[in-house]
Symmetry: C2
Subunit: 400 residues, 2 copies
């Protein structure tokens, strides 16, 4: 069993903010399974790495003995976009919602412990509120408080319209916390206001208020926007090992450190050591490979990670070839074929055979992207491979 | 049958504002019974003259062949004050609401034609909206539009809290108009914003929008605040004829003209003529009596009006006597008693008997507030009445 201090350290790792830490400590000291809440919108069931930042944190709570309530926000999904202005948000049928929720849960269980996870649907209690209950709920918060939410404040100031039901949605989420008697609610840092609504409503209804724990938003592959399906800058946990590998290799070096902190299970000390290595001249590419393999191992397997690496290296090398490689034919000088130094000279890739030899010695010659080390090798008749000298000289050479 | 022009003139009399008059004319030309809506809060079932301003207008519509929908706002009455801050607004039971509504209707039918009046309860359709429908309804209006309502704007600017459900109430009233397919909604001038909500929601739901007709608020007896039960400055239509008479006689001359315009059925031309009479020196008190009798005749009967007048005059006269009337005893001079001229002189009310005679001739002598005209009358032994000479000389005179 972890001590309170150890538990708190694990909980705090990578968090954006905990409100209020002293209260959380008090709850941890109560020595009972805390009720940890995470709300999910069932409209987009595919989990990407952005979601896993928080799921990993839920898993931490489970490892510490607490119970997770995975709340499927099917009530608002049934409503869709009531203004009808957003064609991409039609109401979902109960069947579709169940299906999405199951898909979501199947994915979440790659991270969460099913034994300590309760999947709940908020339509179960929100539908029962009825028209009257909805009005009573709306009475629990003020217009001025709602206006403190950053996006509302900005839109109001800019003269952009806010529909009144948008003021009710945060209260629905808050009521979910009341109904679930949540001890802690998790969310992205953009959810802080909504999570605090739950805290305030619980207080207003004379309950012990939940603590809120926000995690930073994972930036997407573009390094700019938050990772999301709609922005197309995401890595889905169902992505193939090859796709995962390629996507992670594509991120900037800066973003790599962010991903290490939020996605890797490696201790922070190890990550700090990596940073020192890079400062000392190590290639960040090699660390990206480590990260990619760790993530593929988690969502697929270690074998898949190795295969993805090999496949990537292979594709990467191929992809490094230019599209317009000239095709050259050289004549064999014997039955066996032609010496490599002669081949390179005849194909115009080097000026002389001694030039060719020197390039081979300098490891500047490749055949099909594989380095050539034997300066005395004979290339057989019928060979039709891509030869490369240095970074820019290429030729496909047929030995006739 | 009234022409459109005549109908419009009757409808417009005394109104504060009609939005939009051209649309109302168009509706009147459709030659069908229009659906005229008035919403009522069933918490205070006693109708006072302030309410009758609008009920009179509804009666005008009925006289023109239209149908009145008297809407009992029982849905919100069931909710009460959800913030719990207002102890005077507890939720009402369905039984109490029905009882209040019946009381209200009984009173309204003193003005309205029951044949053309539909009494409807909005809980019937608002309850059915459910939690989901309530959110969809809230999506039909924006925060910015709601903030245009005068009291919201002021409270927000002053940092006074507005609970979110307060933004929903105007939408409930608006939805009532949608459900009833109202052609015209009536209300006090303080209701203009809420009535326009109905118009906007109908448009938003692709219905022909209702016209709104606002009536000025009747000022209460104090001449300052609007007439209301809570301000205690009202005349209830169940008030006794005597109370009605006394209350109307108590209003200022200025307020009298306002009441004539809004409560009297007399043509405006007649009221203008009254004004001319007052300018020419007539006593406004006499016109107040006319107004009081018209109103008592409407809510009680003509006989009651006459009786109330007599009773008032009687009480008024008594009330006009000073509290400290000296008591005087005079001796009868014969078996019959004493001549009035002698009585007045002996009691010290006149200096001489000829002075007494002259005062009687000038109609300056009263007995129990009734003028005395017979200067030769004999006052019998045992008489013990109040005598008055001029405005200031009084005595209670016992004839021994």
């Amino acid at each position: 069993m972890a001590t309170i201090e150890e538990a708190l350290a694990e909980i705090k790792r990578g968090t954006d903010e905990i409100l209020v830490e002293e209260e959380l400590v008090k709850k941890l000291k109560e020595d009972r399974p805390l009720r940890i809440k995470l709300g999910m919108d069932p409209t987009a069931p595919d989990i990407h790495l952005g979601h896993t930042v928080i799921l990993n944190k839920l898993r931490t709570f489970q490892n510490l003995g607490h119970e997770v309530y995975l709340l499927i926000g099917d009530f608002t999904a049934q409503v869709g976009d009531p203004t009808g202005k957003n064609a991409t948000r039609p109401p979902l049928s109960p069947e579709k919602i169940k299906e999405n929720a199951k898909t979501y849960a199947d994915q979440a269980f790659k991270i969460l412990d099913p034994e300590k996870t309760h999947i709940v649907y908020n339509s179960e209690w929100l539908d029962k509120l009825g028209a009257t209950g909805m009005i009573k709920l709306a009475s629990h918060q003020t217009v001025a408080r709602m206006m403190e939410r950053d996006d509302f404040k900005k839109r109001y100031a800019a003269g952009q319209s806010i529909a009144i039901h948008e003021f009710i949605y945060p209260l629905l989420q808050a009521y979910d916390s009341v109904h679930l008697k949540a001890d802690v609610e998790l969310g992205g840092s953009d959810q802080k206001f909504n999570l605090l609504m739950g805290r305030e409503l619980q207080k207003d209804m004379n309950m012990a208020p939940q603590c809120t724990l926000t995690m930073p938003l994972l930036v997407g592959l573009d390094g700019v926007k938050k990772m999301s399906k709609s922005a197309g800058n995401y890595i889905g946990i169902h992505d193939s090992p090859d796709d995962m590998f390629g996507k992670i290799m594509s991120i900037s070096d800066d973003l790599m450190w962010n991903y290490f902190e939020l996605l890797s299970a490696r201790p922070l000390a190890e990550i700090d050591a990596f940073k020192e290595q890079v400062k000392g001249g190590a290639n960040p590419r090699d660390l990206k490979i480590l990260l990619a393999k760790e993530i593929i191992t988690r969502y697929h397997s270690a074998e898949d990670a190795d295969a993805a690496e090999a496949s990537f290296i292979n594709r990467f090398s191929k992809n490094a070839l230019p599209d317009d490689i000239p095709e050259v034919t050289v004549n064999a000088v014997s039955e066996a074929g032609i010496l490599i130094t002669n081949l390179l000279k005849e194909a115009g890739l080097t000026a002389t055979t001694s030039d060719a030899r020197r390039m081979i010695q300098q490891k500047a010659v490749k055949c099909n992207s594989e380095p050539v080390t034997d300066e005395k090798m004979t290339v057989p008749r019928g060979s039709n491979e891509i030869w490369q000298v240095g970074k820019r000289r290429f030729a496909r050479v047929l030995v006739k």
